[in-house]
Assembly symmetry: C2
DNA sequence: CGAAAAGATGCAATCGTTGCCACACCGCGG
DNA sequence: CCGCGGTGTGGCAACGATTGCATCTTTTCG
């Protein structure tokens, strides 16, 4: 440490003790000069590629350490035409589901020394496309998204950026994807209610053309078919995200269709349904059964606890990141598709109907 | 559109209809050639700086549009020595509080056309420092962090990167900060319980040296002092984050110190306390009162609802981002400090003690 | 009418890193 | 002793956008 007396002298700017304004960042050329080599050699020593004598290596490493060298990511990206950032676009960071998804992604990326650029696009096509352009501009190593539209994925793929779709699937280009088995989830929830004896099961589902909602709806139908029960279409209520009248419409469904149970196909709708039931003074399980989708915290804390279809949310994020890392590592590999299984968590919000109708 | 017949001809690679592998991204030089100008003029036209004739401008704009030009962020960053990304480091993305904080930050940054690089550092000093280096390498325009240690902020500040501390404050360098008035929050919660007649109020607080916990503790003491009540130090229980024995220790506190009320100074501890009380069959309000800190979703959904000190979490994030944007805009301005006021939300988990001791 | 100002453009250098290429050593086998 | 691989090393040209400067053209105005 500081053994070479001359070292400080050769530093052009007083960078040592006072710690004031290096301002101009330390470059490779600086540490090369410091160690008496060329920039090329410095680059080789620090990146570990190519021949460098042991002596030069330690000198350079020491110099880099001493001067606090931090390689310039943009220069590297410019030269190598790819960066270590991964773009991640989710629908709504404020929603616990997407936050956990992002947490899972970030964790895995971090372990592989990639950075996550996270944006929340409100499921807006224009914003999604704009973010795709941004990720393109950053020369992102890849992009993970919960897609709202196929245009973004197409744009990215066309420009050679790897895309992983997570939670939903709607790309028109071949691409990696990891989703939940939504149909199975819908089936689990619905079959559970059917087995309890319910015959009029209201379905609250997001009003989208996404695979998540389509899958859950399909599961709902399939469970009915399996049980030989005809679905009354009026029991199916599509509700747009953030619809201001969501709770009124749920209330109307309760009034007009007299369901004995409700299957709310996402965590928001479950919350809405729960609130409507509470406001109306309807007792869960006794008066109306309720099944939610996505095991968010409150469902196990309220009394009675809510029966839900649990998704491995963080794992979903991790898998998506793993899929992307695999593709970065081996760009030629077959598009991967993973489908994680949801599980039914039975709590106290479901019970046989009190007055069984036909 | 496509009026100039020759335009496709001059494109060297078939980029038009087939949409297959442009592979090499479109550069400024490409669109300059396409429009018959130099790259300099193209740059001026697209960036809007400097003289460009109207004719050249439209030609270049059209060419850029037609070829799908996306400026290379790394080249721009390299040249301008600053990027449009803002590094954000929070303690734990899986915690709703930090997720919402990040959501608020992202929203504001997005509106100003900045990107958020989000990392979750687990309050680990080493990780935090490593991220600071990464942000440095990316030439981040600024960094927003919930700090765990002062080293990261110092490193960044020393290298000319603007730092905003959010939620907590512990930088040794002058820097912008936005926090909650934790002392007031602690006081609100404690005073509420004291007014109800409680004299033995257990305090669950994170075992850190952060300003959040110190502030809440100070508020707890200050409220006692204001009411002329002496604090029994044995009622104060510091619990480390993710301590596996958190609930056992809370149970022990209940057993040994017989508090008539509990003030849990963060959302995790509130959840732990709530669970312990439930497991023990203790009725909220009637047997033990409970006040939480941070109005997360479940607190208003459980029965009885939990009285909490609510923080404007998203707003906290927004303000932090605004502070950073202001500083980027005017690097010389005085370090800003904002302190947002928490509010007490009284629900049904608090009531006068049944058996008033002393 | 001529000079100065404004308008418009291109050249070339620059940002920091990487990687190709050439060169310079070394010892060794032919 | 020549050449040949194996080692090290430095020079130089990229990567793609920006920008100061020089150049050239057009106005404008005294």
């Amino acid at each position: 440490m500081g053994g070479v007396a001359g070292c400080n002298v050769s530093v052009h700017e007083g960078s040592g003790l006072v710690g004031e304004q290096p301002l101009r960042p330390v470059t490779l050329a600086d540490i090369a000069r410091e160690a008496g080599t060329s920039a090329s050699t410095a680059s080789r020593a620090l990146s570990g590629r190519g021949y460098v004598s042991p002596l030069a290596r330690v000198r350079l490493l020491e110099a880099a350490e001493r001067l606090g060298y931090v390689p310039d990511a943009s220069a590297r990206t410019l030269k190598q035409r790819t960066s270590r950032v991964v773009g991640v676009a989710v629908s709504d960071l404020g929603n616990q589901f997407y936050a956990l998804l992002a947490a899972g992604i970030e964790q895995t990326l971090r372990e592989a020394d990639y950075q996550m650029v996270l944006v929340s696009d409100n499921s807006d096509r224009a914003q999604e496309l704009s973010f795709a352009r941004t990720f393109l501009a950053m020369r992102a190593a890849g992009v993970i998204m919960t897609p709202a539209d196929s245009a973004a994925a197409s744009l990215l793929a066309r420009n050679g950026v790897d895309v992983v779709e997570v939670d939903r699937q709607l790309a028109e280009v071949p691409c990696d994807a990891v989703v939940i088995d939504n149909e199975e989830g819908g089936r689990l929830a619905t079959a559970h209610l059917l087995e309890l004896g319910h015959r009029r099961i209201g379905l609250l589902v997001a009003d989208t053309d996404w695979t998540t909602d389509a899958g859950r709806l399909a599961g709902y139908r399939s469970a009915h078919a399996g049980a030989g029960v005809v679905v009354d279409e009026r029991l199916i209520l599509p509700i747009a995200f953030h619809a201001p009248d969501a709770e009124q419409r749920i209330a109307a469904l309760l009034d007009k269709q007299a369901p004995t149970a409700i299957f709310a196909a996402n965590n928001q709708l479950a919350e809405h349904a729960w609130k409507v039931l509470r406001v109306r003074g309807l007792r869960l399980a006794q008066d109306v059964s309720l099944v939610g989708f996505d095991d968010v915290a409150w469902t196990s804390m309220v009394d009675p606890g809510i029966t839900v279809v649990a998704q491995p949310t963080i794992e979903l994020g991790r898998r998506a990141a793993q899929l992307l890392l695999r593709r970065i590592d081996d760009p030629g590999c077959e598009p991967g598709f993973e489908c994680l299984e949801p599980t039914l968590v039975v709590r106290a919000s479901t019970a046989p109907p009190t007055l069984a109708t036909t």
